[in-house]
Amino acid sequence: MEDQLAELAAQVAAIEAKGNMTNTMFAEAYYYITIPLMIIIHAGFLAYEMGASRAKNALSSGVKNILAFAFVTPAFYFFGWWVYWAFPTGFPLSAGPNGISGAEYAASIALGWGESSAYMGPNLADQIDGVFWGAFTLFAATTASIMSGAVIERIQTVGFVILAIILGGFSWTLAAAWGWHADGWMVINWGVHDFGAAGLVHAVAAFFTLGVLINLGPRIGKFNADGSANDIPGHNLPFTATGLMLIIVGFWGFLMACLVVGGEAWSWGANFANIYGTPTNLGALTFNILMSIAGGIIGAWIMTRDPFWMMSGALAGIISCASGLDIYFPAMSLTIAFGAGVLLKPAANVIEKMGIDDAVGAVTVHGTIGIYGMLVLGIVASGYPAALGEGAPVTSFTGQLVGAVVFIAIGLITGYVSSLILKMAGMLRVPEAAEIAGLDTVKVPAQAYPEGIAVSPPASN
């Protein structure tokens, strides 16, 4: 009898081990898949900003965007991942209540040297850190792409790459440590809830961009002497609109990566959890993402009838609901997103009237709407426990307001100061003659349209 019980226990243990391994492999594959999906975001931003550039700058805009991806990735490996794990409790870099933060902890798992390097390379006993790092790296690269479109046609390439490294490696990561991490002081003290990163990715990147735009200045010809603005249309609106649609495709990967897979650490038992460890699932995301895309497009259509703004409205729709995609009701998402779509163009006009030349409306789409989304959550979804356990802080308008102000400050201050330093070093803006000639002619050894943009020759027969 004892032998049979022992054999049964061994069989149960073996089945359990296989189940755990299957779950871990699913989690590994899940995060792995989010990475190529998020690279679609970059394909979209590439098309978007090349199309939004005049033909004389189309390729140089593309070069800039490609380099942002290339340099943000190693920056996030070298120090960005460390920032996320070191800073949750604030600048003292002390350990938080969950014991997964602080300088000492970060140095033990997130640096590419010493004992920590075991977690920063192939390791058969660690199937999660690599893919989780990859997902975060793509969040970082997304922030750089948000900035990239706004500054086209007059920024220096290396200066831009340095800004992308600061934004992708530090600024947004600091915001994520504070407002996303389970030990984050904004989560623990204020109940900040920003599931899909409306504030800590979109608004931080947008306000960083605003800080850069203040120092960079407008393109030649954008504003008249009396302060009125001229429209500088891109050379290929269909390409831009298609790029925006690609960004939306990639967003599914972005938001998928904001979940913790069931059965893994910080999940809700066998079910999915959001990054705070509180329960949700893919069904919640599906309902709300689709309805928010629809609401954003409808709102922007009513206001503009313009396909550029309609597709921007789709993006704004998702961003406006991003903070609460894990908990909203679908019709609520459509309504919130409709508000974002309506708000979009008037908000962009306000930025332009301030003398800011944001070539693609990035500050509005990601900044204004990101903050709108954070604050709306404080109104329509207050009282939600922001973390696990009895006595956890709850979501509130005040908490969301505090989060919004901190995210704006992180972005604006780091963007303004870093771009001011580059400006003083002569590394920010291209010379006037180069801007007038077109940056492709000045520095790109290829032509975007060597045969011009011609009507197709007649078909045979």
Binding site: W268, G269, T278, P279, T280, A284, M291, G295, I298, W301, I302, R305, I327, Y328, F329, P330, A331, M332, L334, T335, F338, I379, V380, A381, S382, G383, Y384, P385, L388, G389, E390, A392, V394
Partner: protein
């Protein structure tokens, strides 16, 4: 609006977790969303008709 359970704590066995779950709130939001969609179509139709009139 807000957390649909009496105690602000996540516990096993919860089902619908959206704001107002179990009340009339979801229906209200659905009506608002339907009104937005129909209203948008009406405004769009009015605008489109005006454009066609200019090109008769």
């Amino acid at each position: 609006m807000g957390f649909p359970f009496d105690k602000a704590e996540w516990v096993d066995g919860m089902e619908a977790i959206f704001p107002g779950a179990g009340s009339s709130m979801p229906g209200t939001w659905t009506v608002i969303a339907i009104v937005i969609c129909i209203g948008a179509l009406l405004i769009g139709q009015k605008s489109e008709t005006a454009k066609y009139k200019k090109h008769k």
